[in-house]
Subunit: 345 residues, 3 copies
């Protein structure tokens, strides 16, 4: 197995053992951040991050990850620089030229391009795939409108830390995940949710998805999740009730997401989505609901909408893993970058 | 005395001997920037700077300070990323969550949030205090609407370099500082002025403050300054005449500041403040005025408004310390960061 | 010959042997990027880049160059921070103060300020000269409205790599360059074009310049180019026909540029220039035209307007050097920075 030089755009592009290799190394790195085996893993290497959408966690966790491996992080908000030609009356540089030139300068590229940076569901994911096609250096997806594979890794690491003293990922096999939609004004893309469905099912978890009708997820992602469950003899269930599904759950993952067709004339309709989301106020995780689970942990990839996606008491509880998961973004990405771009002794 | 891990939000939070320790180390670092004792003081460490207001000196002096100590500087303009929810119709991430998550990624945080980034005098200072409350890593104030402690350190270092061959801070004890308001279109916050009043009085200088009526400083800051003077048997005087106070002065510090109540509906009224400041044209430091001092040095934390806060001849004179003070921002912050975050052998 | 500490604002400011020294070192560095002779050439050094105009290649090639030499790159978009005073009713910091303060923090400064960042042709170049006058540290031009000396170096390196196995610059002597204007919506400044005219003529190439009437280049630059040609016994010719000049050419360099007088009330008239450029559709490099050359290489400093400046087939051909030239930005700038700021063992 060689991960060196591979793109990481969707967890489904990778073999299970490749993903397990990343998670195992992430655990080692978390325990011993300054070990000489990795503190120079990115020496003389640079990694470019293109943020078509802003970010707190992704941006900061990548930047610190690169720094802790001895590399150089370069950040750009390209919509401010390169997307000059919206009306077609001027010119803009071809994607193939941008990707080829960038490949001459840096050792790897991360791209974040979600929902409101594009005009149609799926165009963000396509953009990253196209960029990777023309790039000579590896490309890592840092969240698009379809998937967020790095968030998926951090989730799994955070959950397995709670179910096994050594953070053994096998401990999640056979456990039940309830993914429940949350009312919120954050208008979150489907990316995090879909990536962790793919990954949790790949690792053998039973899947329950709960959301108000109208918030259907991407059909291809659901189909792949179902296949993964079947292969692992795990269950797959869809619910449309904010109060069901808690029984038997080991992980409750609450998260707002938008409807996929929320574009008008290519512009994402934020306020319309917010109004719609606010009309489903019962879709909140409460202490009462959590009591009906199998002492489940509570997860959310953040930002979390306090009082809407979950009650404060849930967020502040012992069983909440949200800050651990956020921290794990750094450790999983350190492992990923080391294996893709660098050298771990 | 251990400074390791302490916040630095206001000089009054620190003991005098702690501040003297920083200044002494800054002098050593200035003389010998590449000494192995400190070139790796921030190895594997990262420091996040949140700029709610832009900056030349603060930004660049922190960034180069961190680099010269072997650390990683991370910069953000968070108003572009995180302050999405102004109208209350959408959601925004809770400060406690931002602070907790950031604490998982970096080793320290600097925050700049002055006047026009907030809706009311004091809210910037409060924001930094609140952030520090939820942060697990030390927080340094990089200028708020109330104080600018790092500027204070650089001022004191620059002045004592002129009064003692070794930059001995004791040389300022018993000397007289004239702080005089300046006419300018820069609309400066009260922060620098108030920090150096607190610090100069703590170090035993006599204080004279001159400003047009209506430009009163923060009452709590004045009260603390008066107490510091009393404790040191130093004098404290307030004047309202642009031509007085020069007699007996050893340091003339000229600086524009705004009135504290210059908000309407939460928006800072720049043009109104500029018009008001321009109506006090005599409040300029001239060569003639400087001749009446005790061969005083001329200070200003910059940017300086040439021809308004001071005549060009004053700024370009031998007794002007403005560029030395600007440079000292770097050295004092290197000392501060080393002692708070790192390790000096 | 000592290059240490020199500004690099226009290639004409430097002796030929100084330029050859940079190009020779760039070739060495390209072959062996991690050689211990230069991986620490900028240790403890920082270089500030001021971008009054955004950039892909310049920005990224400088940032990676500095990183590969062990230095710290600091980037600013100063129009967002320091150009507050457009209406003259407020104040803005004097250029001399900005330059002097910056000199206290960093070891060198690069400035990019082209066309639309100024109100009149030539003001960008003048700004860099003025900044350098007040700066105590060396200044490198990263493109202004008149010249782009770093692009010139990368062009020459890319072309000579094709005419000599060792990239020997002498191989260009006596060869013929056709510089031809290109129809495009990119509204490019004259800087790249003028820098390579100056440099190619300095190195002994024959010069042919072709453009539609009205697109005259800077008279001083043309005069200097003519002088350089005369000194080297090379020819100099101007054409106004999109179809001529290919015969005998060894390098075809196609590039859009704007008219110099395209300002109205100090604002650059983009759409007017685009409409004008689009009216000259024959000014495109085609495979047919390239066949009439002496097996010429095809060059362009990018971004390139596919289907307007040149046909896709030309851009994708074996004789296209555009990506090599883009890559050479990094290598030539590494050599330049090492010799100006640092130390190559």
């Amino acid at each position: 197995m060689s991960i060196l030089g591979k793109d990481f755009i969707c967890t489904e592009d990778w073999e299970l053992n490749e993903i397990l290799r990343v998670l195992a190394l992430a655990s080692e790195m978390k325990k011993d951040p300054c070990n000489p085996r990795w503190v120079t893993a990115l020496k003389y290497k640079s990694f470019l991050m293109l943020f078509y959408n802003p970010s707190l966690r992704t941006h900061m966790s990548f930047e610190t990850a690169i720094c802790e491996l001895g590399g150089t992080a370069i950040c750009r908000n390209p919509e401010m620089n390169w997307k000059k030609s919206k009306n077609g009356l001027s010119s803009s540089e071809a994607l193939k030229d941008i990707a080829r030139v960038i490949s001459r300068y840096v050792d790897g590229v991360g791209i974040r391009i979600t929902m409101d940076a594009v005009s149609r569901y799926g165009d963000g994911h396509k953009f990253i795939r196209d960029f990777a096609h023309f790039s000579d250096v590896p490309v890592i997806g840092m969240a698009d409108d379809r998937v967020h594979p790095c968030q998926g890794l951090a989730d799994i690491m955070g959950w397995s830390e709670r179910y096994s003293p050594n953070g053994d990922v096998d401990s999640l096999k056979g456990k039940t995940l309830l993914l429940t939609w949350g009312s919120s004004g954050f208008t979150r893309p489907l990316a995090s949710v879909q990536s962790h469905l793919l990954l949790a099912s790949k690792l053998g978890m039973n899947i329950k998805i709960a959301y108000p009708e109208g918030y259907e997820l991407d059909g291809d992602v659901c189909e792949q999740t179902r296949k993964n469950c079947k292969k692992n003899n795990a269950t797959y269930e869809v619910l449309h009730d904010s109060n069901s599904g808690y029984e038997g759950a080991h992980v409750v993952y609450a998260r707002n997401w938008v409807t996929r067709d929320a574009y008008e004339n290519g512009e994402f309709q934020f306020q319309k989505e917010i109004n719609r989301a606010f009309s489903f106020k019962d879709w909140i995780v409460t202490e009462e609901k959590m009591k009906r689970t199998e002492k489940a942990i509570f997860a959310n990839p953040m930002p979390i909408d306090r009082g809407r996606e979950a009650e404060d008491a849930v967020i502040e509880s012992e069983y909440s893993v949200i800050y651990d998961v956020a921290e794990n973004r750094k450790h999983t990405q350190k492992a990923l970058l080391s294996l893709i771009l660098g050298e771990v002794k």
